[in-house]
């Protein structure tokens, strides 16, 4: 009996070969993609612990003869001018990104809830206009927004960036969260209201905890978007003490010849908050993006 089961019919053999071929092709492709994304980061890390001289050598040192943390020390030292600048840029970025994140959650949560639960005049139109903004490349708005910011006196303030990043991040945040609220049965709120909660309490006590993954995903998304943004920060800010990390790093190091280990150390430290944030919260992030697809 088992011999019959173990011997596949003749016709099936070539098909299995073909499936294996695809599988190996897929694996090779994935390995290639992995190297493509991971190698630059690895090289960034390796370069950041080289000395300035070692970084320029050719053929390159795959692993530095004398690894050093000098670049990191220099960047994190508040006593020298390089460190002062870097730390200031870092705090600027942190401030802009955190403000963007907090505001976008504050705006997106009620907006998404309203789009999901209420019918009001202009609902579809408003929802479409929310999305409309994302259908154009960001650069298109650069000059108009700059003129606008100048008119309302926000050029050279962090407020101009926070406002701009909000307009970028909000549409997706509202979309993502609306999907979340759509998936929460309205009967839960009704039950809560009958059980003695006000409409607002029902939202805070029942709906909000259920949408935590969505809110976290939204927050990560806004934070990363604001943290990494370059072109608007470059355009809206000109004073050195206001610059955010992406602009600051670029400007700073082009001025001080090209200190590659320093640049790489700064880049690495710039990626740390995002990576840490993502690692800690990725569980929620993945859940947020797949929720609704397989629920119920």
């Amino acid at each position: 009996m088992s011999t019959i089961a173990e011997t596949p019919p003749r016709g099936q053999a070539p098909r299995r070969m073909r499936i294996d071929g695809w599988r190996w092709g897929g694996r090779i492709f994935l390995v290639f993609m992995l190297l493509y994304t991971a190698l630059p980061m690895a090289w960034m890390l390796i370069t950041s612990i080289k000395s300035g001289f070692a970084a320029m050598q050719f053929p390159p040192q795959w692993w530095p003869d004398q690894p050093t943390l000098a670049s990191y020390q220099k960047l994190l030292d508040p006593q020298n001018s390089v460190g002062q600048d870097f730390l200031r840029f870092f705090w600027n970025s942190l401030f802009v990104s955190t403000a963007t994140t907090v505001l976008s959650v504050i705006v997106a949560v009620p907006a998404a809830y309203a789009f999901s639960r209420f019918t009001f005049p202009g609902r579809n139109f408003l929802f479409f206009t929310v999305l409309l903004r994302n259908m154009f490349p960001a650069v298109i708005f650069l000059v108009p927004l700059f003129i606008l910011m100048r008119a309302i006196g926000l050029v050279n303030t962090h407020g101009s960036l926070v406002l701009t990043y909000l307009t970028f991040g909000l549409p997706l945040a509202i979309w993502l969260l609306k999907g979340f609220y759509d998936n929460i049965p309205v009967q839960l709120e009704q039950a809560a209201r009958i059980d003695g909660a006000t409409r607002f309490q029902a939202f805070i006590l029942i709906v909000m905890p259920l949408s935590t993954p969505g809110i976290i995903a939204t927050a990560i998304y806004s934070f990363i978007g604001a943290w990494n943004e370059y072109i608007y920060a470059y355009t809206f800010l000109s004073k050195n003490e206001q610059l955010t990390l992406p602009v600051g790093i670029q400007r700073f190091f082009s001025e001080n010849t090209t200190d590659f280990p320093g640049l790489m150390a700064a880049s690495f430290m710039m990626s740390v908050p995002v990576v840490v944030l993502f690692l800690v919260l990725q569980r929620y992030f993945v859940r947020a993006l797949t929720e609704g697809a397989v629920k119920h």
């Binding site: 009704q190 009958i194 029942i206 905890p209």
Partner: protein, 365 residues
Amino acid sequence: MAHVVLKDLVKTYGGFKAVNEVSLTVNDGEFVALVGPSGCGKTTTLNLIAGLIPITSGDIVIGDQVVNDLDPKDRDIAMVFQNYALYPQKSVYMNLAFPLQMRKLPKAEIDKKVREAARVLDMTQLLERKPRELSGGQQQRVALGRALVRDPAVFLMDEPLSNLDAKLRVQMRSEIKRFHQDLKATIVYVTHDQLEAVTMADRMAVMNGGYLQQYDSPAQVFAHPANMFVASFVGSPAMSLIPLEASTANGDTVLKSAEGWSLQLSQRNARKAQSATTRKIVLGARHSTIKLHKSAVPGAIPAKAYTVEPTGDVTFVQALLSGAIVNISVSPNIAVKPDEQIWLEFDQERMHLFDGETEMALEAA
């Protein structure tokens, strides 16, 4: 506990009237079923009582208070939902405690009441579980527990059994009935299943198209349906409705079929037929009131068997008569074959006559 009064209740959505001047009284401690096909307005009516949607006009009274503009939380009601609506992030214990926490009861009292409710519903061992770790029947029980833990004035139940499998449904049906008997609770129960309404309710309100069709005890609704809709909706298999035409010849009233046969009416039924606004009369008969003969009998009407459905202790025969399907139940030892010639005898005492125009039941003048 309290009584509930609906007075000329109306709910419109744009131009659509979902609930149309519904008036009914639910007495203190009474179990009332709102029953009707989907879209008949029964769930909307329940949501209006709960205060989950605003009423368009009319009045709702719970206890002695007009609650038209009160929030759900201030109406002293509890509701069991079709999908149970258990809070998924909370344990069973916290689900039961939530209504009490919202009313700011002291912790010790909450604990006492939750454990008492859990004991009554036999789920003490489930208190620490999350709703998703429970079976459908257990979830249903938690939903019931969350409703009764607070001792509300009125229980509202929106198709609480329809998500359960058939066997569990029958079991929970008797549990809810028992629950009503023990608590003397005022219950408004929405269902599309007339059998649930008939078996559980003290009175049933049959709704269709947003209108209240009839409001009476199940026995009365069954024996004296107010109109053709109620007649066909309540009872299974449905009452057979045969469209006929009344005519009077030398003192006798007969119902004539387009197929050529005619049925002579008893004096009482003749008076009923004469009270109609039209000559068109619809004859209604339940399966058990029709006698099936395998040979011609005086007064019996010839028909052809259409399908035969044995169910074990009774066999249902469908026959085509005057374009309508007629259900007859016969003893299983009577063998009937499809397309066989049969004769049907209607019970004059237990037949129903309806006005062909207004569709209302006809009464003897």
